[in-house]
């Protein structure tokens, strides 16, 4: 559990990546969300330096690009841990014990929502519905949904991800 978080400084500038990605979408301003997704996928987050590049390519103001990026929960400015674990907080999962699962997850990982474990393995996030409400409660690990999660299943998964 020791060690400082060194992730924050590892984010590349991303100006070239941003330029290439914008070009891939023909610099169309309406595709800004797609571009932000791709940048985040490639670099792990959306670096500040990418915003003016996008603004120039799309003929928008920096404020417009920043405004779009900051509106959506999905986009992050600093990289997540090696794995992103999202725990559903919505009603269907609540009916199946999501509140207890959230508490368990935060206790197991020793983090709150939006934080990364000290070993850099897992970033814990809240999510509102994964569309798997027939098998609540649910979590999503790196884009894959896992159903009927209880404390035991969560503990096992977390241990595997941190190994």
């Amino acid at each position: 559990m020791a060690g400082k978080r060194t992730l924050i400084n590892t984010l590349p500038q991303g100006t070239e990546a941003a330029q290439a990605i914008a070009a891939r979408y023909g610099n169309r301003p309406d595709a800004l969300l797609e571009m932000l997704h791709d940048i985040q996928h490639e670099l792990g987050a959306i670096p500040d330096a990418a915003l003016p590049v996008l603004a120039k390519a799309l003929n928008l103001s920096r404020a417009e690009v920043y405004g779009t990026m900051s509106f959506y929960h999905e986009f992050r400015r600093t990289p997540a841990g090696r794995h992103v674990v999202k725990v559903c907080r919505a009603e269907s999962c609540q009916a199946m014990g999501a509140r207890a699962l959230v508490a368990e997850a935060q206790k197991t990982l020793q983090v709150r929502f939006g934080e990364t474990t000290s070993d850099g393995a897992i970033t814990l996030e809240a999510v509102y519905c994964l569309g798997n409400c027939h098998l609540s409660p649910n979590i999503q690990v790196d884009g894959k949904t896992i159903g009927r999660v209880n404390a035991e299943k969560f503990g096992k998964l977390a241990a595997e991800l941190r190994a």
Binding site: L33, E91, A95, V127, C129, L130
Partner: protein
């Protein structure tokens, strides 16, 4: 060649369908058996997932729920010949859960390879578009109007009127947008369509484009659905290469292109005008109406916006005729609704039934009651903005007007069941909290009201001036209902007020008990 069907649906994958599929492939190879694994959508009987089916001379035989560890014993029992095993379910179509449904939309889901145009066409796909290509736009719109189809996204606006409005705008650039930002907890039917029968959605949208004179379409899918996004893109590519999408469809002068756009975790983007802003690459801010999107929508052009299930109903309506669809239903709610059983429910999944089916039939007959085995206390119908109904109201028929008269809504057809352990004050608080988190912030009643709502409920629960604060909360709810720009702020009071109305005791508990919890 033995054909084995394993779902690729994310719900089945969430219970290990991928592991099961690879185990089957491994085991088949080691036994030198020639097995073809076809990845399908889900049949919608999720408590039986992963549900594996095998093609035999006497039809498909199902096994489930199959875990990776069961695969060796399945082969040993010769499941690949349809033999008996402890997980045998027989022909799944004889299962009462499926047999008692009225599936008009979900006819192929779970049966076909979702991205195979040939498979889709072998099961009746593209018959509607073929027919529509020979019809005038007016005729197609008239058929949709005749069907009585109402928008399945939640508002229930007559689809025919919307289609006619876009159709009647002067020729020029128009758009068709599919709202696949299925953010309501307790709903998953859109996801099932996109993962299990995406070509049906593509066909419905293509018909809409041709009928209204729009040659470009967008499907806005929430980023929480990576599988749906991937399957939808695959299906679009398949449709394009088979010339059912793109320019000069099937050699006609009709063209329609389709693009998938990803959301980014904002619930509000399920609101149609907010979705339009998001599709334009902006913050998902709600726009005031009028102007309505049908006249002034995406990039300021006439835009037809419908939900996934609305477009998905179109192929049936065009193939069989509007009158056939209209035969199902009750009152002004025509056709079928894919209801989604969720929350604390034994047999969660998808039940497509004509409107008029009661909550009790859905939850007890299909759903088998609660998962915990405890009595039902509340059911939230229609997503996080829908009302909480008490067990005493389970005999209500699922129908737009009946629900509206009860201060509730059918919404997107999702049912979230809660057992007796639920604390309704906590649920009411969450409704306000969710609104505070997800509000776009454009209008004050929603942006500020939701925050004040959370604070007021906290005071009520803490026993501070209960009577006055309940009165204040009531007034706040009224302000949000009357003054909000869209359904987010406008409907958040619905779960709150219904919780207070039907479960007043939860707002009047001794304070020390609350603290002890």
């Amino acid at each position: 060649m033995i054909k084995v069907y394993v779902p690729r649906d994310s719900g089945a994958r969430s219970m290990g369908a991928d592991e099961v599929a690879s185990a089957i492939a491994r085991e088949a190879a080691s036994q030198k058996l020639s097995v073809q694994i076809i990845r399908t959508g889900s049949r919608g009987l999720y408590w039986l997932e992963p549900l594996v089916e095998v093609e035999t001379a006497s039809g498909r035989v199902a096994y489930g729920p199959v875990q990776e560890a069961d695969v060796a014993s399945l082969f040993k029992a010769k499941f690949h010949e349809g033999a008996k095993h402890k997980l045998t379910l027989g022909n799944i179509e004889d299962h009462p859960y499926l047999k008692n449904q009225e599936r008009l939309t979900f006819v192929r889901c779970g049966i076909i390879d979702p991205v195979s145009v040939a498979d889709y066409m072998a099961h009746g796909g593209y018959a509607a578009l073929k027919k529509a290509l020979a019809m005038t736009g007016e005729r197609v719109v008239a058929e949709v109007t005749e069907s009585g189809l109402r928008g399945r996204g939640g508002a229930g606006f007559p689809a025919g009127i919307k289609w006619k409005t876009v159709h009647d705008t002067p020729p020029g650039q128009k758009y068709v947008c599919c709202n696949a930002d299925e953010g309501d907890s307790g709903t998953f039917a859109d996801r099932m369509v996109m993962e299990g029968d995406p070509l049906m959605l593509i066909e419905g949208m293509t018909i809409a484009g041709i009928a209204t004179g729009a040659n470009e379409g967008f499907i806005y899918i929430r980023s929480e659905y990576p599988d749906a996004i991937a399957t939808m893109k695959e299906a679009i590519a398949a449709a394009v290469s088979a010339n059912w999408l793109g320019t000069n469809i099937q050699g006609t002068d009709k063209s329609f292109t389709l693009e998938v756009r990803r959301g980014a975790g904002a619930y509000i983007c399920g609101e149609e005008t907010s979705m339009l802003d998001s599709l334009e690459g902006k913050r998902g801010m709600v726009r005031p109406k009028p102007p309505i999107p049908a006249l002034f929508g995406l990039f300021g052009k006439p835009t037809l916006i419908n939900n996934v299930l609305t477009f998905a109903a179109i192929p049936y309506i065009i193939t069989e005729g509007g009158a056939a669809y209209k035969n199902y239903g009750m009152g002004k709610s025509r056709g079928t609704q894919p209801f989604q059983l969720a929350g604390n429910i034994k047999h969660g999944g998808l039940v497509e039934k004509a409107f008029g089916v009661t909550l009790r039939q859905l939850i007890e007959d299909f759903g088998g009651g609660t998962h915990s085995g405890r009595p039902i206390r509340a059911v939230q119908v229609g997503g996080p903005l829908g009302a909480y109904l008490p067990a005493a109201q389970l005999d209500l028929p699922m129908e737009y007007e009946t629900f509206a008269a009860e201060g509730a809504m059918v919404g997107h057809g999702g049912l979230v069941v809660f057992d007796e352990t639920v604390d309704m004050a906590q649920q009411a608080r969450f409704a306000m909290e969710f609104c505070a988190i997800e509000s776009c912030g454009k209008c004050t009643p929603c942006r500020i009201g939701a925050v004040r709502g959370v604070e007021t409920i906290d005071r009520i629960v803490a026993g501070i001036d209960r009577t006055q604060n309940l009165e204040l909360l009531e007034e706040l709810c009224q302000t949000m209902t009357d003054g909000s720009l869209c359904a987010m702020g406008g409907l958040t009071p619905m779960p709150v007020q219904s919780a207070i109305k039907h479960f007043p005791e939860d707002f009047d508990r001794p304070v020390n008990l609350q603290a002890a919890e």
